[in-house]
Amino acid sequence: MARFDRATGRYVYVTIDGVEHRVYFEEHGTGIPLLLQHTAGGDGRQWRHVLEDPALAGQFRMIAYDLPYHGKSVPPTGVEWWRHEYRLTKDFLMQVPVTLARELGLERPVFMGSSIGGHLAVDLALHHADVFRAVIGLEAAAYTPGGYLDLWYHPRISNDFKASVMFGLMSPTSPEPLRRETAWIYSQGAPPVFKGDLYYFSVDHDLRATARDIDTSRVAVYLLTGEYDWAATPAMSRELAEKIPGASYRTMEGLGHFPMSEDPARFLDYVRPVLQEVRAGAAGAS
């Protein structure tokens, strides 16, 4: 008898800025919709361990998607993307989960993402509070300049470099096989994608002046950051949380920049209470 994972994958077509994208996603569970966003240069496989969690699956419909140009979401056929260097903008990135929520018929989903996904969580809280009931930003900060560098997309530097740097962003206490898996995924991204994603991470995302405008009475904001994350440090996340009235923050000890994939068991210990609070809020509102 074959042993299968519980998550199942399929494609959905979404149109953003007049361009049709074929977006891959994997899902498991029933209940409150929970959209899961991967990091820059990664893909939805980073959530594979969380997707398998039976307790969460009993309460949440977890959906981990690959952004266009990432993982199994190959570039669109309707534009000559090969004539321009890939670059991820805030406007495009925000439209992906918003459009997915609409196309999949998700009712006030929860959004959770790490790194660019963490930054995106707070941008969504600011600009799309009507779409999401709560956002959970992992490794989020108001502003993280300095990462949009040519060395991330250079003909003389292979994807091994990215994988190695990402390995060093994780906690040395996380299980080595899972850190290796996380780095492996980085070695597989299309060469221009990581640098292009860092345009959003380091240039287009800037909440220093606007974080205070987020209304947590409309969308709850939770921030959690790994203590070993030197790209978006605990101090940076705490500072962002302090700018957002009503937001909460917690440092995740023993975790780094990729909590959901480098040590999912430890990560789930931190995120379960947050998701239960979201769930309790939903029950109270109904």
Partner: protein
């Protein structure tokens, strides 16, 4: 500053599968400046041929320089100090290379070498 058994580091690196893969085809002279002390690694075709003390300005292809305190934190892998590049981007270490792309192309080998120095300095 902790004692680092450099002959043992060379033996470990040359017998380490991860380092040997990351260092394939590598030819370089790498210098670590550990505060006032410096050591040079002569690397040929991915194999470390010698590790020897040198002056801080000794000829090299690339140097990695940090204070004794920075090296201590890096080798202890305390939070935010578990990775050399993170420390370089914070300006806690300085990398000097005539050919920076060549250094970053072999960063996986350098990172693994630091791991092995860390392990051997604890033993």
């Amino acid at each position: 500053m902790r004692q680092i058994p450099w002959p043992r580091v060379m033996e470990r690196a040359n017998g380490d599968g991860e380092f040997r893969i990351a260092a394939r085809f590598w030819r370089t002279v790498l210098r670590f400046d550990l505060g006032p002390e410096s050591v040079r690694f002569m690397v040929d075709d991915g194999v470390i041929r010698t590790i020897a003390p040198s002056g801080p300005g000794a000829d090299c292809t690339v140097s990695v320089a940090g204070s004794p305190e920075s090296w201590e934190r890096l080798l202890a892998a305390v939070p935010l100090w578990q990775d050399l590049l993170g420390a370089v981007l914070r300006a806690d270490f300085v990398v000097t290379a005539a050919d920076p792309e060549a250094f970053y192309a072999y960063y996986p080998a350098v990172r693994r070498l630091v791991d092995l120095v860390r392990e051997e300095s604890r033993s």
